[in-house]
């Protein structure tokens, strides 16, 4: 299986705090890969490094075989590597449909394309994806007025609208009620299988990640602690120790 993201020996520190130390991992094309680890273990820092929020101190990050560690956030996003945020970020003053339309890919959009109005297909696609995440009825409401869980679903739908090849999800189920979580797992899996989007997911909810991912990486204290299938990770004594604090 080929890999779409290759992270090798990436280190990142903030002042004296080493957030990532010599981290290496790879995300397989078309798969769902998980990233777990206790709070403060450097998961989000690694995500931020991959999508270009801050320069890395050393190491290399490749997307589809090309080095991306020196590119800006926008450039990486336009290559089809997209992320969602742990603290949901949507355009609060606009309604759901507008949020979706804005998320159309700007990859190949020239300034002349940008000066066109949205097409019927754009609207249909927006409606279709809103239906997919179950927000169709509320699509004309100001999205800032939606509940946190609904905003998370909207953010997910927006990410799909952007037609990414690979999607980095930062705790997609945090703050969502248990009933909705099942629906979300199902939709994430379908986004992966039906739309062919590679998923790389940070998740604290073990039930969720063990259900979805084919391969899981575990970070602790900024270093890669373990990697393997859900079964291997669940039975790895080092992972159990890291979570229970036996370090």
């Amino acid at each position: 299986m080929t890999s779409i993201i290759d992270v090798s020996n990436v280190s990142k520190s903030f002042g004296g705090v080493v957030a990532n130390k010599e981290v290496s991992l790879s995300v397989n094309t078309g798969a769902i890969t998980g990233l777990i680890g206790p709070n403060g273990s450097g998961k989000t820092t690694l995500f931020n490094s991959i999508v270009g929020y801050h320069p890395i101190d050393s190491g290399s990050i490749k997307f589809e075989g090309n080095e991306i560690s020196a590119l800006s956030v926008q450039q990486i996003a336009r290559r089809g590597l997209l992320r969602t945020f742990q603290q949901t970020r949507i355009y609060g003053a606009m309604d759901g449909v507008q949020n979706m339309l804005i998320s159309l890919p700007h990859r190949k959009m020239s300034i002349f394309d940008a000066l066109k109005t949205f097409t019927r297909e754009d609207y249909e696609r927006a409606d279709h994806l809103l239906e997919f995440v179950g927000l169709y009825e509320k699509r004309m409401l100001k999205s800032g007025d939606l509940s946190f869980g609904q905003q998370k679903l909207l953010e997910f739908a927006m990410a799909l609208m952007n037609e990414p090849t690979c999607l980095l999800l930062d705790e997609p189920t945090a703050g969502i009620n248990p009933t909705l979580i099942n629906g979300l797992i199902d939709r994430l899996k379908r986004a992966n299988s039906e739309f062919g989007i590679t998923l790389f997911v940070i998740e604290h909810n073990m039930r969720v990640i063990m259900n979805m991912a084919e391969k899981i990486y575990c970070l602790a204290y900024g270093e890669m602690l373990a990697e393997g299938t859900p079964d291997e990770i669940q039975n790895d004594q080092r992972v159990i120790d890291a979570y229970l604090g036996a370090h």
């Binding site: 926008q74 996003a77 003053a93 159309l104 940008a114 997919f132």
Partner: protein, 345 residues
Amino acid sequence: MSKKKITLYASILAFSIIAPFAFPDFGTQLATLWLMIIVAITWDMTGGQMGYNSLGNIFFYGTGMYVAALITIGLTYDIGDYTSAAGGGIYEFTDLEYFGGMALGILGAGVFCSLSAIVIGSLTFGLRGPYFAIGTLGVAIAAGELVANWDWVGGGQGIALPVYPGDLDTGKTFFYFLFAAVGIASFLFARWLYGTRFGAAINAIRDDEEKADAMGIHTLRYKLYTWSMAAFFVGMAGGISAFQLIHFEPLESAYQTINLGIFMVVCVLLGGKGTLWGPVVGAILFHLFKEITWNYLLGWQWVALGALIVVTVVYFQDGVMGWLEHKRPEWFGRKVEKKVVSVSQ
């Protein structure tokens, strides 16, 4: 477009055409109203739609004045000679030189301001929120001071342009229609722009620029283009003002940061930020308020204006249109919709 809307637009257009003839005594006032509408609509393009509150848009107004004047003069005479005579009356312009120069001057003012917005924007769009506001204000103030000390363009005395050739009342009507044309053009332009993907992208920048970045939107590019479009119209308005005022000087009439530079912001706040009609409604209300207080509360007019700003900012932040949207959300299409299509699961 619905029938109602067409009727509305048609009646506004008709009124705009009849107004200077119906109220001949208010010709200059009505022209100034259009100027207010232009600067308010264009201010809202960055301030309301893109979330970048510029206090420096007056730079384009002042620069537009100078560029238009210098082009018109430069086409016929040597600028240095002309300005050192301070409009002493030895310089005659034929009708062709006057109107031809004016047309090229106003257009040139728009283009020059458009380009300068790209340059200034490249330097200032790294700033956010209040820092951007103060940064752009600094640009406008500095420009005024620089021009005031530049003798070639008349220094602190400014420039005196030739008087409108012909009947002065016809001149007033002529400038009214110039302003009205630019005003209508900027309104229609904004109306079209906000409906495009471009409009959606600048709204995204306003609501969450970091998110827009993360979605791959060319944020800096859109910011520069938007400001550049706004600057084009403000520059042209400045160019028209130069001819309407006949004589202008750098600090009080061209780069008038504390007058028009603030008025445009107040207009938009009063009418409703980030709405198409807000700036227009706001400009009309503000201009009425200003003219009434300047006439009947003379001596206290600035106090009244200050009070208006404070009340607007503290109690009426959403402006007229925002208040309407809050009271009548269904007029703006905000409602829960029943499912009408189903997508196969």
